[in-house]
């Protein structure tokens, strides 16, 4: 009894903690709101707001901004967005865009001057634009009339339309007075950006979320929900936890979580092509990989089918070159099926014992997911069986980039071998930057320092082909050349996943590289209210 006060105090504080716990946290919101983790996962660009400087996040950007043209939701074709329609001249050097009638979110009319203004900004590296070199073939931008814009190119560029899908059109009346060099650090992007998309920018609560509200006079009709909120999460697992607890309705999800989510009631898993080909890259500046037989042995040693079955649940396609899309892969190329005996024989022929023997070879990667760790462990074991001793080294993205982009000759030993992925579609030209000998750093991202003349010639031929039908054949030649010379050991193209609440209606999402953009039509998204 004597300590009853103390005991009571303890009991009371426990009770207090318990009483606060069940406070209903799902505070009711006015109107219909869709909350998602739109910038989570590899296509996201979280907490960054300048689309001119964006390397991702286009799913989210294209909800409040719009490009001239965009991919269809299945990424098969490029269709009009802010341009109702467009024509390309026969010589592929003139592009004419017919613009839609639309107003900016502040009520000002959108017209051809805005398009010219945006392309000028994007071509000016002072603005922090990452489009400058990609748009360098555009010689002039002519405002024909308020609703028509004509681009003239110095040479045909088969990638131009694909590049334009990521160029969000900016309002001249809002940004015209800002000096280009100040644009990169302007707070306009995160405080009061004005676009033409179906939703208007409301607010950014630092590191927490961005809220958009419906643009009621959007040309394709008033959006069906009142607000869309993009919540930021440090990792996909945290976003999945929020989805499971009912706080958000959509997120990207790591393949590891897909199996359990498929069995979860109330949510559906969305599967799509990642358009990223995973490969094991051979640093051509080190002596280990000079002999093509070593590179072939490498592929024969790895049982890619088994890895796909066991670690990807079958949701990946074995790659024999940089592509897996049937129209880009020619018949009759070598299928490097698992054959450890052949691998050993090839290594013997090449004299692997003298080249390296069983000395450990660092295998660098920026992939930090548990799935990637399992994949690398499996490959390490398979290579070990034929006498190639690789040792995975996992680093974060800045460290990885710091290592692989360095042109210091003493640094090649830091990454004799890498495990990486590179975008291979929907535009097949995407991998040129990683394999063409003209793209060696600092010009491009040919980080494996691949200087194969025939391969470069094949890329150049495909890149300059203006006839779409003929281009397909040229890309097949690139594939065949990659298949024979093996500048890297191609692994597979896997699926990527999102998971959405069953409450979402007409919701469109696909794991497009860099987030797209694609015609997601957010104005049609709806949410069933319980």
């Amino acid at each position: 009894m004597k300590f009853s006060n103390l005991a009571r105090a303890l009991a009371a504080s426990t009770l207090l903690a318990g009483a606060v716990m069940p406070v209903p946290f799902a505070v009711a919101q006015d109107g219909k709101t869709i909350t998602g983790a739109f910038d989570t996962g590899p296509g996201g660009f979280p907490k960054k707001f300048n689309p001119l400087a964006a390397t991702g996040g286009f799913t989210w950007f294209s909800i409040y901004f719009e490009p001239l043209v965009t991919y269809a939701a299945d990424l098969s074709v490029i269709e009009g967005a802010l341009a109702d329609s467009f024509e390309v001249s026969e010589d592929q050097k003139t592009y004419t865009f017919h613009l839609a009638e639309e107003t900016w979110h502040d009520g000002e009319a959108f017209d051809a001057e805005d398009v010219k203004f945006t392309i000028d900004l994007a071509q000016n590296p002072d603005t922090g634009s990452v489009f400058a070199s990609r748009l360098s073939d555009i010689e002039s931008v002519e405002v024909v009339d308020a609703r028509t814009v004509k681009l003239t190119l110095s040479q045909p560029n088969s990638a131009l339309l694909a590049d334009l899908t990521q160029l969000m059109i900016m309002p001249q009346h809002a940004l015209g007075d800002v000096a280009p060099a100040e644009l990169a650090t302007s707070t306009w992007w995160s405080e009061a950006p004005i676009g033409t998309g179906p939703f208007k920018f409301d607010e950014y609560v630092t590191d927490q979320y961005v809220a958009l509200s419906a643009d009621e006079d959007y040309r394709r009709g008033t959006p069906k929900v009142d607000r869309i909120i993009n919540r930021y999460f440090d990792n996909p697992a945290a976003a999945v936890a929020a989805l499971r607890s009912g706080e958000i309705q959509f997120t990207y999800v790591e393949p590891d979580d897909v199996a359990t989510l498929r069995d979860t009631e109330g949510v559906r898993v969305i599967e799509g092509n990642s358009y990223v080909v995973n490969y094991v890259g051979f640093n051509q500046r080190v002596d280990l990989w000079k002999d093509v037989r070593v590179r072939q042995a490498f592929l024969y040693a790895i049982d890619r089918e088994a890895i796909i079955t066991a670690l990807y649940g079958g949701a990946a396609t074995v790659a024999q070159c940089g592509y897996v899309a049937p129209h880009l892969v020619p018949d009759g190329i070598t299928e490097y099926s698992h054959d450890p005996d052949k691998a050993r024989a090839l290594l013997d022929e090449a004299g692997w014992g003298d080249i390296n023997g069983d000395a450990p070879i660092t295998w660098l990667t920026y992939y930090t997911s548990p799935q990637a760790a399992n994949v690398m462990a499996a490959v390490q074991a398979m290579l070990g069986q034929v006498g190639i001793n690789v040792v995975p080294r996992v680093v974060d993205v800045p460290t990885y980039n710091g290592i692989v982009y360095s042109n210091d000759d003493a640094g090649w030993d830091q990454f004799p071998l890498i495990y990486a992925g590179i975008r291979n579609g929907p535009d097949p030209a995407s991998i040129n930057i990683g394999l063409n000998s003209a793209q060696l750093p600092p010009n491009g991202a040919n980080i494996m320092r691949v200087e194969f003349d025939d391969l470069t010639a094949a890329f150049d031929a495909a890149m300059s082909e203006t006839d779409p039908a003929a281009a397909e054949g040229k890309w097949q030649e690139v594939c065949a050349e990659m298949n024979q010379t093996l500048p890297w050991a191609p692994m597979w193209v896997s699926s990527r996943y999102g998971v959405a609440s069953d409450d979402l209606v007409d919701f469109v999402w696909t794991p497009a590289p860099a987030g797209g953009p694609y015609a997601a039509h957010p104005e049609l998204w709806d949410i069933a209210q319980n």
């Binding site: 390397t55 706080e247 800045p398 991202a445 590289p513």
Partner: protein, 319 residues
Amino acid sequence: MGFYVARRTAVGLLMLVALSVLIFVLLRLAPGDPVDAYINPSAPLSLDELAALRERLGLNDPLPLQYFGWAAAAISGDFGYSIQSAGQPVLPLVLSRVGPTVILMASGLAIAIVVGLAAGTLSAVRRNSAMDVGLSVGSFLAISSPPFVTALVGLYVFSVQLRWAPSGGMLTPGVPFSVADLLAHLILPAFLLSLTHGALIMRYMRSSMLEVLNQDYVRTARAKGVREFWVIVKHAARNALLPVVTLIGSSIGMAIGGAIFLESVFNWPGMGLLLVNAVKARDYPVIMCATLIIGAFVIAVNLLTDLVYAAIDPRVKVG
């Protein structure tokens, strides 16, 4: 006393300068810079623009020049601009995160102190009872569970399964601010933060109390007929508190470490989350400023602990 505080403050300032040099050098030694953090490895860019970006950010200047440039500006209160969130001045950005971190740490430590002291005292007074054994087992469990386990298990149990608390964030997006909403978001991370510290405080308090309860002056107090409750609270607990105060002081420093982890798991918009994201993006100006503020805080808390210690125990003299 005044001289002591002034001396300790001066030493603290020197430590901050040393800290800034250390962090600056370590950051530049780490591979990768802010521009490297910007490149998406699977969708690479031509590097011409990135080189221009490096030049604009002043990353090509010699290191000492970069440091003194930073230091000169920092002394006048200008910590530069965040690289990852383009255009945001660093100091307001970092200061805006102090509040949320203080809320989380203060709540976590308050729970830890109240529950830890009470449970430790009870445990000592009811030594070897079922309650003592229960509390001891619980406290050992809490001490030996690392925060990354308790945070994730707590998140899974209380948010995902029981849905008692939100899984992250400080406020529900898109609704007006309310204290109830804040508390709902706060309670789970604060509770988890309090676990280890509360358990540690409880263990210290228990053993300290056991020692004190056998002292002559406690027996004397009982013999004088003082009620048992007051014997415990006035005579025993106050003396038993001394070693615990030191522990609480150092707990505050440790709690910052725990808070950094909890903020990442719960997406709590504090200094910890800011710092983790800044490191990922190699956002040098933010890392420098946030580290210095945390350093200054820890130095100040240590000084304060020594002063409080003197206040509780008249035998201790500072200076």
